[in-house]
């Protein structure tokens, strides 16, 4: 019922700046879709176009079965949670929650019933008579949520709703949000620049960059099979390492020769490497795919490097290294690994999990099969 379709949606501002360049996205009913990307990538603009707060320059947006391009926000049957909560400061919490119902001329008793239900659900029943000023950040956040829930809309739109909370609260609220979605089962579109939120919350993730949708898929798929270098680098902390070099073949085997001379043997060639022979490419390796010991059967893929910084984090150890030619990368090692600053070590790559990208910011990932 409340599917949301975006078809070639564009946003071009009066000054000629194209914020969104033809985004197409299908969001299924009851799905939790997270749109993620760095600031300025057009994700908020996309959300605001769905909400009707921003005029659509091209394409169509469909909510349910209705094209809503020219439907006023109030008639789109959506609710939105804002980054700054946008609670009405002159109204009490109750009035804030009841406002939209009042405008829709619900009977008083019905309003009261709904508001108290929602307040109960969000554990803010005792705050109903207070003004937003008197609430803590977390409580305000709940009121903002409540204001969206109380209307029982076809879709929730979240615009970075957690960014104003402190780190600890953000994590707990994140979990609550997920539980809430499971309970309400309403289509949700959630915009964030925080990849952790995206990974944890989304049924599917939509990664945007430069006004374009890069990849839409389930979180783990995006993590494991990023379509391009941008998506790969965006998800994961510390981010994926990119090492420059070129593909070559030696002894009948495909190898990746790093600029500093180290050679990494590549595996499972489906034949797609052939066209990239002797071309400048980028090898993408996630930090956790480095080890100090060679992997079984992969003896010939070490990089001679120097340790610059070691950050023991308890559950793991982040090691900042540079190769001989000065390419920097981070390895994520077992916390008990004996490694220290200024050590010269050879780092081994789990080549099965490495990716090769075309050069450039959004260089295509050539190691995942196209289908």
């Amino acid at each position: 019922m409340a599917k949301v379709f975006l078809k070639d949606v564009q946003k071009v501002y009066d000054n000629g700046f194209a914020a969104v360049k033809g985004a197409s996205l299908d969001i299924a009913d009851k799905e939790f879709m997270v749109i993620v990307g760095p600031s300025g990538c057009g994700k908020t603009t996309t959300l605001r176009m769905i909400a009707g707060l921003e005029e659509i320059s091209g394409g169509t947006i469909t909510i349910g079965s209705r094209v809503v391009n020219d439907v006023p926000p109030k008639d789109r049957d959506i609710a939105m949670v804002f980054q700054n909560y946008a609670l009405y400061p002159h109204m009490t919490v109750f009035q804030n929650l009841a406002f939209s119902l009042k405008l829709r001329k619900y009977p008083k008793a019905e309003i009261k019933k709904r508001v108290s239900e929602v307040a109960e659900m969000l554990d803010i029943s005792s705050q109903l008579d207070k003004k937003p000023k008197a609430l803590s950040g977390g409580q305000r956040q709940r009121v903002a949520l409540g204001r969206a829930i109380v209307r029982n809309p076809a879709a929730f739109l979240f615009d970075e709703p957690l960014s104003n909370l402190d780190a600890k609260l953000r994590v707990t609220t994140r979990a609550e949000l997920k539980a809430l979605h499971r309970r309400l089962n309403t289509t949700s579109i959630y915009v964030t620049h925080d990849q952790a939120e995206a990974m944890t919350l989304g049924d599917r993730i939509c990664v945007m960059y430069n006004g374009e949708i890069q990849q839409v898929a389930a979180p783990m798929e995006v993590y494991d099979k990023p379509v391009n270098r941008f998506v790969a680098g965006f998800l994961g902390t510390p981010p994926m390492n990119f090492l420059k070099g070129k593909i070559s073949s030696s002894d009948g085997k495909n190898v990746f020769i790093l600029t500093d001379g180290d050679i990494v043997e590549l595996k499972n060639d489906n034949g797609q490497l052939k066209s990239y022979m002797e071309k400048e490419m980028v090898l993408g390796v996630r930090p956790e795919h480095f080890t100090v010991e060679p992997f079984a059967g992969q003896s010939n893929n070490g990089i001679k490097s120097q340790v610059n910084v070691v950050e023991p984090l308890g559950d793991r150890k982040d090691v900042y290294m540079s190769s001989r030619s000065g390419q920097k990368f981070i390895a994520n090692l077992d916390p008990h690994t004996a490694i220290d600053v200024d050590h010269q070590v050879t780092m081994y790559i789990d080549i099965n999990k490495a990716h090769i990208f075309e050069p450039g910011e959004t260089g295509k990932n050539i190691t995942i099969s196209k289908n």
Partner: protein, 299 residues
Amino acid sequence: MKDLKYRAYVKRTPYLFLAPYFCLVCIFFIYPLISAFLLSFQQTNGPKSKAFVGLSNYSFVLTDPDFHKAVKNTAIYAVFSIFLQLPISLGLAMLLNTAKDKTKGFFRLIIFSPNLVGQIFVGVIFSVLFVPRYGLFNRFMQSLIYWGLENRWLENPTLVLPAVIITALWMYVGFNMIYFLAGLQSVDKSLVEAARIDGANPWQVFWNVTLPAIKPVATFVVVMSTIGSFQLFELPFSLLKGEFGPSSSGLFIVSYLYQMAFRAGDLGTGAAVGWILTLMIMIISLTQIKMSGTLEEGK
């Protein structure tokens, strides 16, 4: 179809909100403005007599010694209101700034209170206070400095302007003080403390920290005072009982306009004065804004 209208509706909204302004400004401002502009090239006398006289009204006004006098009086008044009234307001604001809230409120209330009285009332009240021998002001001066009991403030050409300035001082000091107080609140206290620690004396602190901080407010107040000074009319008008003082010593630009248009019945010349005055105000206030360099900040 209703859906399609929404965009147009949103685009139209600001114009709808501004519609009352547009309507009123066209009817009661632009139309009269154009009439006044056309009028300034005409001489009129009753409905039947209307004659185009070209720039004669302007050339007459610009060479009229009375107009020169009015400009001189207005300029003197403006200078005094900026260099006497505003420093006093600022001084009072600084005296009050660090006071306790209640004390501050009390003095603020008192010093602002003259603004509650209309200019027309203030004028008549002060015309009685300035009465020689019996007037409160004359008696006060007499007992304070043994001078001024017999001063004919409103009859002596050299004293009329001071009388207007004193009356205006009483009226407006409190108003500007409130602006300065607000400006002083925005002065960063840590900056003052830092300057103190750096060894600045109070004067240096005022000059180097306080004054730059209240510059936007000061600019605002100076511009508003200047515009106000150039539009001065009702106060001297009622103070001098509808006249313009002996030897036109209480003649200001707007009173000159009023006299031309409504006493002498020469609406055309009056309109010309109006346009000259408008030009003067614009040039002066824009220069002030430019000079203070707050044009960009001032939105």
